[in-house]
């Protein structure tokens, strides 16, 4: 089974520029998550989708971050304008319908963003 695909793997931009990350989850997985991970820390949930609907975006900085999951498959996460503190790895994960702990998340390798 193919894993969760993310691109780009690395991105360097200057502050106030914009950036977009793409995620292709495991085929058939209904739930999709975007996490932000600062170096050496645990991932922080940004947004959770169930199919193409948003379940939780309470920790998404909506003044600069946006995410969509059209057709309930691929997802994009956009940052505009970027700030220095946005430097992090952005992890995408997917899980089967109705994640309850008996089913587990599969993570992509992440997209590392450096804001200069």
């Amino acid at each position: 089974e193919a894993g969760v695909a993310q691109s780009p793997r690395y991105k360097i931009i200057e502050k106030r520029q914009s950036v977009a990350f793409w995620c292709n989850p495991i085929s058939g997985h209904a739930t999709l998550y975007w996490y932000q991970q600062i170096l050496g820390q645990g991932p922080k949930l940004l947004i959770q989708f169930q199919n193409n609907g948003v379940v939780d975006d309470s920790q998404l900085p909506k003044d600069r971050f946006s995410a969509e999951r059209l057709k309930g498959v691929d997802s994009t996460l956009k940052i505009q304008p970027a700030k220095l503190e946005d430097s992090a790895v952005y992890l995408c994960a997917s899980g089967p319908q109705g994640f309850t702990g008996a089913n587990v998340l599969t993570f992509g390798a992440g997209s590392r963003l450096t804001v200069l």
């Binding site: 998550y33 645990g42 991932p43 949930l45 379940v55 992890l91 109705g98 994640f99 587990v104 992440g110």
Partner: protein
């Protein structure tokens, strides 16, 4: 807001030593997972514990879920250099129709040869 605090934050030990990592919260979780993450990769699941007091063993790794389902521990016996990595606990919260996974603060383990 559900928070998971891990301790210690950093741990550097010699090969062959034992160690324990703790994951604590004031919230109750329906289940708790442990992940290991290597540089440049996403977290990879090690184990899921569901029942309060549950103990699971995975070769040299022993995982325990607290009786009250608020805390967990990971014990590694005779650590090897291949155990080096970032260890993350993650609690499954009660988020409505689809539960969400809240990650702990992480424990960075370095096993020296």
């Amino acid at each position: 807001t559900q928070l998971l605090e891990q301790s210690p934050q950093f741990l550097s030990i010699q090969e062959g030593e034992n160690l324990t990592v703790y994951c604590n919260s004031s919230s109750v979780f329906s289940s708790l997972q442990w992940y290991r993450q290597e540089p440049g990769e996403g977290p990879v699941l090690l184990v899921t514990v569901v029942t309060g007091g549950e103990v699971k063993k995975l070769k040299r790794l022993t995982f325990q879920f607290g009786d009250a389902r608020k805390d967990s521990s990971l014990h590694i016996t005779a650590a090897q250099t291949g155990d080096t990595g970032l260890y993350l606990c993650a609690g499954e919260g009660y988020g409505g129709a689809t539960n969400k996974l809240i990650f702990g603060t992480g424990t960075l383990l370095a096993v020296q040869p």
